[in-house]
Subunit: 96 residues, 2 copies
């Protein structure tokens, strides 16, 4: 199944940016980052439970918002993407 993970945290603080990096790292073990705070993770039920458990260990429930959505299948038909998507390293330094 495809799970969309969306994560809202203030990246104005050092701690917030750190949590976002850690959430991204957990998700990238199961899929890919498609926007700054949106991740697409392909998992089975067991992996989903593991993903959820690991995400909950990283976030600050008082400060952040985490949402997990399960897509309609076949999910290839139920995702539409527009605009300027590049699978970039959102955390890395900008190299021109």
């Amino acid at each position: 199944m495809l799970i969309i993970v969306t994560y809202d945290v203030s990246t104005e603080t050092r701690e917030g940016r750190k949590r976002l990096r850690r959430v991204a790292k957990v998700c990238e073990g199961h899929g890919q980052r498609v926007q700054k705070s949106v991740f697409e993770c392909k998992v089975n039920l067991m992996q989903f439970e593991e993903l959820e458990r690991r995400l909950l260990a990283e976030i600050d429930e008082k400060e952040d918002s985490l949402r997990l959505y399960r897509l309609k299948e076949p999910f290839e038909l139920h995702v539409k993407e527009y605009g300027n998507f590049k699978a970039v390293d959102f955390e890395g330094p900008l190299v021109i």
Copy 2:
């Protein structure tokens, strides 16, 4: 059906913030904003096509990323939310 709209734009520029406000306004006509750049929209097929058409009219495809996801139904069972969600006016002034 429930459509998740995720939108990535640099809000460091005035134009980016303006586009995000306009995207939010389009989505809020069909649902609600749940994170800074994530919207949940309940629509039928005709409304979905209208929503997509209106969103594409607002975004800058060179600068922004827009993704539309259709959730598995019954969607109440396929959304999990954690943390600090408040249905706030993300654009309004902060009043204490």
